[in-house]
């Protein structure tokens, strides 16, 4: 990261993608950097929160139990039951862990002293996407059999024959390339853009603060904007975790449906 004083003379340097690179924590190994540490932290935080909230389960729930259960109920009802349909209970654990994992990692973007959304490194969204990609293909192949699944994708019933010339490549591309690509890119790009936006206002404020007297006063607005945008980011982060889980549920529902 840039120092406070080095900026004062050389003009404002806007944040770039280089600000997303971190030095290794132990020695020279690039395998263990801040984002990797945050992934481990997110598992510990989410795991201990839900273990604590479910440990002393009672009929009259404590506040903690209520918080944990309302998140679970939300995923089970809104994303499981309403989207997937009668067979939803099998997929609730998967959807729930997906949602919580992405949400925790995203919210790290605005937690003071951490302030880095793990998902703004493309590798992590790709990793999460692989789970959902494999799941919806596996579910469909298990339910319909491989040949029927491929036939369903390639030749949608009830369509005039010449249309297949266009429709078949488009459908194949959708199932195999576009869906995982958009799923991972959407999450990555949102977190990347959000973190960049916060960097612009905090680094801009820092630059103004180290400049002249009047500009020093203006830096207040920049920092204020950064704080306001942090709350805006909280909304985006929760929304993206929801969207990712919703789309996964929709793809699974599509895989379970009798006709595509």
């Amino acid at each position: 990261m840039r120092g406070l004083l080095s900026q004062a003379n050389e003009g404002f340097v806007p944040p770039s993608s280089a600000d997303f690179d971190f030095a290794p924590i132990f020695g020279d190994s690039i395998l263990f950097t801040k984002p990797v540490l945050l992934v481990f932290l997110s598992v510990i935080v989410a795991g201990s929160f839900f273990t604590l909230s479910a440990r002393k389960a009672a009929i009259v729930p404590s506040k903690l139990q209520f918080a944990g259960e309302s998140v679970y109920t939300f995923i089970r009802n809104e994303l499981g039951r309403d989207v997937i349909g009668p067979e939803f209970m099998r997929f609730v654990p998967f959807l729930f862990s997906l949602f919580i994992f992405i949400l925790t990692n995203n919210i790290f973007g605005i937690v003071p002293l951490i302030q880095f959304p793990t998902m703004s490194h493309i590798g992590f969204p790709i990793g999460v996407t692989i789970f959902s990609y494999v799941t919806y293909h596996y579910v469909a192949i298990k339910k319909h059999g491989f040949s029927k699944y491929v036939k369903d994708i390639c030749f949608m019933p009830g369509i005039p024959k010449p249309v297949y010339l266009i429709l078949t490549p488009v459908e194949l591309l959708t199932y195999l390339v576009t869906r995982p690509l958009t799923l991972s890119m959407r999450l990555f790009a949102n977190m990347f853009a959000g973190h960049l936006l916060l960097l612009v206002f905090t680094l801009g404020g820092e630059y103004l603060f180290t400049s002249g007297l009047i500009l020093k006063f203006l830096s207040l607005f920049s920092f204020g904007f950064a704080i306001g945008l942090s709350f805006f980011e909280l909304g985006i982060q929760a929304l993206q975790a929801y969207i990712f889980t919703l789309l996964t549920a929709l793809y699974i529902a599509g895989a379970l449906a009798d006709e595509h």
């Binding site: 890119m185 949102n190 919703l246 929709l250």
Partner: protein
């Protein structure tokens, strides 16, 4: 003046998704205004459409960084 033309490209690429997001929420608002009890059904659909449209603008942002 220095800079990269890719950022101008990003600016242009936001026109479409921006319009799309406006249309999606306009439709959502008028839907809820006509039938307030349909809100819970319309909300996930509206946000799904919003996320799908918004992603295109963000692809533009990512490409603006990649194609520097």
């Amino acid at each position: 003046m220095t800079g990269t033309l890719a950022i101008v490209g990003f600016g242009l690429s936001t026109i479409g998704p921006g319009t799309a997001t406006g249309l999606i929420f306009a439709a959502y608002i008028s839907g809820v205004a006509r039938q307030p009890e349909a809100r819970s059904i319309l909300q996930p659909i509206a946000f799904l459409g919003f996320a799908l449209a918004e992603a295109l603008a963000l692809f533009g942002l990512v490409l603006a960084f990649v194609l520097k």
